[in-house]
Symmetry: C2
Subunit: 229 residues, 2 copies
């Protein structure tokens, strides 16, 4: 049985990715990296879904990317309600070098866990413009990884899997439901209030739309609406 | 005046690299990542040399790679005294995916500092076998970086500089002395005792040999010898 490291934020995409890796027959080592503003709720969700999906091991690592800032997720910039992005406009939720940092830590964990496979929930459709979700980026990371680590010098081949990369949110949700993903314990919101999803940020917008498009009831508890400040 | 991020551990190689970047005319943003067993002494040395080399900014970030282990620098494995490595044998001081993690964080810092250049002190000679010090690895990281970040999508080109990569330790020391590197404030030891270099680990071995080969007095304070346990 092969082993894989799965990057797990506790969100909809990463939890579905974990379920796919397990369905493909991998022993799963989940890695949660707490880097931003939602540490408490991310840690809670990741722990819950990791326990429910019966994985080998779950590691949680803290990394204070607020030291750098440069994103509404790691700085005192308002996330704001969802607005349609212009083509090629990268939203303010872009975190500088985020996926490179997350995959690098997954690469370290993979090497010590004797896993040659790394899964992450990158997706190009809903958040058009994140450069580190593109297939060309993922291939370049994989190539670099195979020059970076000791295990590759010993004949192992590192593979970076992004099974959701070309799926719509509705397709992801349908796939996850078929695999029994406990979506009620996942969180997606960029700006939660009292542990409830705000319902209006881009992440909530695409999650809600995804459930509607999939024709599946959204189990998320959204915060009551409030007047604009 | 162009800006560069320089990975600075406070050791001989990284401090020389910082001096080279400054000599090349870059405004330097130094980044120290405390990931292992020598956090206290590394932070002290990095702060000292950063202050002496008058840089723009110095950020220190903590990252507990002991969570993963797998190295004598991040786990309870003895570093041991220097022994000659066999060809292609990677020493136990290899930290899984270390340079990939460090460069990824440097890439994030570069993007928020509007720097297109990243310097680090990789060197292939003294520590034969570290895969993530090879020029092929460095080129692959650079290629990946240019697909990863928003600034690259806006026309910037990220460059990874490893100016020491092919130099011997003696050549590094001669170059650093010519640039006024305060080597007395740098540290290299893998296994310091009461903040003094042990004198016998591989890092101390190559440092001592480097000063001898360069014909330059070694300003390091080594710990008194002690009987083997």
């Amino acid at each position: 049985m092969k082993s894989a490291v799965v990057l797990l934020s506790g969100g909809l995409d990463s939890t579905t990715t974990l379920a796919i890796a397990k369905d493909m027959g991998y022993r799963a080592y989940a890695l949660t990296i707490l880097y931003g503003q939602r540490n408490h709720i991310e840690a809670l969700s990741a722990k819950k879904v990791a326990a429910l999906l019966s994985i080998e091991e779950h590691k949680i690592i803290e990394l204070n990317l607020r030291l750098f800032g440069g994103s509404s997720l790691t700085d005192d910039i308002s996330v704001g309600a969802h607005v349609e992005s212009r083509v090629n406009e990268i939203p303010n939720t872009y975190v500088p070098a985020r996926n490179t940092i997350l995959l690098s830590l997954a690469l370290a964990y993979a090497e010590v866990s004797k896993a040659d496979d790394i899964f992450f929930g990158a997706n190009i459709h809903d958040y058009s413009g994140y450069p580190d979700c593109r297939p060309s980026y993922i291939h370049a990371f994989e190539k670099m990884a195979n020059l970076a680590v000791k295990s590759a010098t010993l004949g192992h081949h590192i593979r970076i899997h992004a099974p959701l990369v070309n799926l719509s949110k509705a397709e992801i949700i349908k796939k996850g439901c078929a695999l029994g993903v406990p979506y009620e314990h996942t969180h997606s919101c960029y700006d939660p209030r009292d542990n409830l999803a705000c319902g209006s940020c881009s992440s909530c917008f695409y999650r809600r739309k995804g459930f509607i498009d999939a024709g599946i009831t959204d189990p998320t508890n959204y915060a009551p609406c409030r007047p604009a400040a």
